[in-house]
Amino acid sequence: MEVTDFKQIKFFEKYTGEQLQKIASVSSVKEFKVKEIIFEQYDELTEIYVLLQGSLSLGISLPKDKRIHLGTIEEGQLFSWSAIFPPYISTAWVMAVTPAKVIAIDARKLNAEIEQDCDFGFKTMSKIAQTISHRLSDTRFQLMNQLNV
């Protein structure tokens, strides 16, 4: 992907051209077919993703191959943030519901850049924090609905 392509995506709007160049150099675009698993719960994660096109479902696994669908990842959203934080183990599985296209960013190399470049690190961590915050808020709301509060 080119830097200009990144600039079209809302997720990357605050980064400078130089910073986007760094991200582009450690990213690739991947495509998934319907029902294809992107990663399983408890997988060790090496990449952090931003969904470009399509729709993904997120959930947890139960014994006897049962999957509980808990949420949906929308276009433009970041997922697989556990790849940035030790122990880098996924807390959920993610599967493509429709044909999907994602930007896959090498998490080790991104971490190295975060440590080196403070401004870049701050912007990246802010975006990740915001994503997690929204997801937590939505999940709490979902929980309250289930508890009939």
Binding site: S55, S57, G59, I68, H69, L70, G71, T72, E74, E75, G76, Q77, V97, S137, D138, F141, Q142, M144, N145, Q146, V149
Partner: protein, 274 residues
């Protein structure tokens, strides 16, 4: 109006049909004795003869005056009895009461509707009203969440809306079920898909108090001003006339000053999400 001389006297209406929407929710089709005119978002007090009455916002089009549809969720004493009624009985209607959606303010704008649970009932009426004036609107988007796929009422509504020019409808569920491959998550998660020009938009939120609270927070984060967000507040509306005091929310009588308020009007009140 029910009775121009006596504000307490109901207008009689025959229950023509009962539609089962979900295990706990039924839609009642009522034929009033006289033409009944209401504004979308206004409510009525629907009574069971000799038992009691409860407030409901009609879910039918405000442009139809000889029949009325009211969606009733089985939650308490009166609604439990209502759910046992069979077509042919007479019911009582008092109203219409309150301040409904000011649809004339929506002309030339994009309308984003965020709904949850039983909130789809008043929203359905609003959608009919908006469809009637769609030439004067830029866009109408519905984001709706129900607990499970089975709990969603008016299932045919979504495909119908998506086939109308300028209308978009999205559905999500809190908990998935066998056979569901749509989005999972609360209604606010659908807002990520929505493309609106916020400066020229209004947002309407209708659903359980928790959903209204989270929805309002998310809309404000998106950039909506507090006077662009319309909330339908539920309270213990009883007389509907701004007199009996049961529906007071701070200084407002919800039955008279509402039930539709802008967030700006009520945000100073700490009780609004109770």
């Amino acid at each position: 109006m029910a009775d121009t001389t006596n504000i307490y006297k109901p207008l009689k209406a025959r229950l023509e049909e009962v539609i089962e929407e979900s295990p706990l929710i039924k839609t009642f089709v009522l034929i009033p004795e006289r033409e009944f005119v209401f504004g979308t978002g206004q409510f009525i007090e629907l009574s069971v003869d000799g038992v009691g009455e409860a407030p409901f916002t009609p879910s039918s089009s405000p442009h139809v005056h000889d029949r009325l549809e009211v969606t009733v969720m089985k939650t308490g004493y009166v609604t439990n009895i209502m759910h046992q009624l069979k077509p042919g009985v007479m019911m009582g209607i008092r109203g219409p009461y309150g301040r409904g959606y000011p649809v004339s303010n929506f002309e030339g704008r994009e309308v984003l509707i965020l709904g949850g649970g039983c909130g789809l009932a008043p929203i359905r009426s609003l959608l009919f009203a908006l469809e009637h004036m769609k030439d004067d609107l830029e866009k109408v988007i519905l984001c709706y969440g129900s607990k499970t796929p089975t709990d969603c009422i008016y299932k045919p509504l979504f495909s119908r809306l998506n086939s109308i020019d300028k209308f978009e409808a999205y559905r999500t569920v809190d908990m998935s079920e066998e056979g569901w491959d749509g989005p999972v998550g609360v209604a606010t998660t659908l807002l990520g898909r929505v493309k609106v020009k916020i400066e020229n938009s209004v947002a309407v939120v209708c659903g359980p108090p928790i959903m209204m609270k989270f929805g309002t927070i998310r809309l404000l984060e998106m950039g909506y001003r507090d006077d662009q967000i319309y909330l339908s507040m539920e309270k213990n509306m009883s007389c509907g006339l701004g007199k009996c005091g049961h529906c007071m929310m701070g200084e407002f009588f919800v039955c008279k000053d509402g039930p539709v308020f802008t967030y700006k009007e009520i945000k100073h009140n700490p009780e609004i999400w109770k």
